[in-house]
């Protein structure tokens, strides 16, 4: 299979898996306990790394932007720039990339191991749909928790930026807060919440697909885990560009 055919085939299979997973919610049995368990594992388990990433990203943004703004005498507006870039772009993308690395690899490795040890076949033989039991809860958990994690990353980034601005550059914290507020509008927040929904779907569908299509024993588990992280990350970055363009056009015509 040449690379283009393979790409199109995988895209078709991933879309199909995503559709079956969402459709699975409408049928019994529903695995609410499993969804809660996955939310805990995916969401709560990722809070630390996402907050830490957001905090230091906000800090480094101020560190880099402050001297330039100071040169033009616009240092009091540093919060405006930080808020816009964090809420619109960096918060959703960085949270998604961190979750793709931590959770995407775990999902793919877990499902891949289940495939090679015949646990998926056993599940089907016992009359359970692996899509409904394993894929749907993970995707739902990602769709719910990634926007929350993104909010955490945004807030941590703004706090990190504020601390750097105050401690290293002596900017008054009230000036920073008011510039953050003036640099944030509803469009930014809406766009910043739609993106993690899409990214959550991408991480879940790609990682579950890569895990469930594992072949070649334990070596295959390693390969599919790597592919899950790489494919999710690249897809997130590519999707972010197109999503930004679409949201820019869509939201600029609204009343927000």
């Amino acid at each position: 299979m040449n690379p283009i055919t393979r790409f199109l085939f995988e895209l078709q299979e991933i879309t199909n898996l995503l559709w079956r997973a969402i459709k699975g919610l409408g049928k019994k049995p529903r695995y609410f306990k499993e969804i809660i368990r996955q939310m805990d594992s995916i969401g709560v388990g990722s809070v630390g790394i996402v907050v830490l990433t957001g905090f230091f990203t906000g800090g480094v943004l101020v560190l880099q932007a402050f001297p330039t703004l100071e040169y033009y005498g616009a240092q009091s507006n540093v919060g405006q720039g930080i808020a816009a870039s964090l809420i619109r772009e960096l918060g959703p993308v960085l949270a998604a990339l961190m979750v793709a690395g931590r959770v995407g690899s775990a999902i793919s490795a877990e499902l891949g191991s289940m495939v090679v040890s015949q646990q998926i076949e056993a599940m089907r033989a016992l009359g359970t749909s692996p899509v409904r039991k394993l894929v749907t809860p993970r995707i739902i958990a990602l769709l719910v928790t990634l926007p929350m994690l993104t909010i955490g990353a945004d807030i941590a980034g703004l706090i990190g930026g504020g601390l750097v601005a105050k401690q290293l550059f002596g900017l008054d914290i009230n000036t920073y807060i008011s510039s953050v507020r003036s640099g944030t509008d509803v469009n930014d927040i809406v766009a910043g919440m739609i993106k993690p929904l899409v990214f959550g779907g991408i991480i879940g569908a790609v990682s579950c697909y890569k895990g469930l299509s594992t072949t070649g024993g334990t070596v295959g588990v390693g390969t599919s885990t790597t592919q899950a992280v790489v494919s999710s990350s690249i897809t997130i970055i590519v999707a972010d560009f197109f999503l930004s363009k679409i949201l820019q056009s869509a939201l600029s015509s609204t009343l927000f």
Binding site: P29, S113, M114, S117, Q118, Q119, E121, A122, M123, R124, A125, L126, G127, T128, S129
Partner: protein, 298 residues
Amino acid sequence: MNDDGEIPENLLPDEWEVDDQIEADDPEKGRLVPALEFRNVDLAFDDQVILSDVSFMVGRGETRFVLGGSGTGKSTVIKLVLGLIKPDSGQVFVEGEDITHMDDVDLGRIRKKIGMVFQDGALFDSLSVYENVAYRLHEARVPEDEVEHEVVRMLQFVDLEDAIDKMPIELSGGMRRRVGIARALVGNPSIVLFDEPTAGLDPPTARTICELAIKLRDIEDVSSIFVTHEMNNLEYVGSEYAILDRKGNIHYELAGKTYCLLNTKIMMLLKGDIWFTGREEELRASEDPYIRKFIRGK
């Protein structure tokens, strides 16, 4: 048996007559309908032919051994029975129902009648022995007290009730297989599929697994497909039968040289075809070079 090959009616136990009468009225539910049937099944992966025009039946309470070397399509037969893969052509019947083109919902109903014992147990790593055995019942939302009773009963059947709280990682290979058998038997399936259940086990443990298969066949009246390439499995299951004494204890007895077990048949696959079908004695008496090599290893 008289000269015409018929058993005189006065030799048949009373309950047989009653059963036969009921089944004659409702043949769909009777023992006349085979537990499993393959009709002209063809299957190929890309250019590689796995099964070519394969037809066979497994009767009620019968054990069908599927023998053959690696890659001869033995495990594929089991996957076809479960509907995990579909044949390219032909039909697969489970208790008279054509499952060839069934959707997942109907297949789920069919799979509830079937227990599957995997090569390595295929236990769910994240669940305890109790949760593994109870899996099917938990899925069916059965009340927990009933689940517990059934799980304990099944673990007693495989003589592993002490392992109820252990995790699969703590079990030996033989124990994992036996838990796999207990999980497969929950819900009293009428058909059990064994996929090389003794591969890699020491002889005493392999013997224990075979005794469970004999017990299922002779005491529980379960139909089964037993995929293996180990001749000692065939020797045990094909030549011994289980009986219950008055105290409820199970004894295993040899069928002897004079008799053969009518409820155990052998099917050997080679290059997608059924190379041999018959009883253990016929297999061992065969002059076919492939069969002789398979039995003796040279």
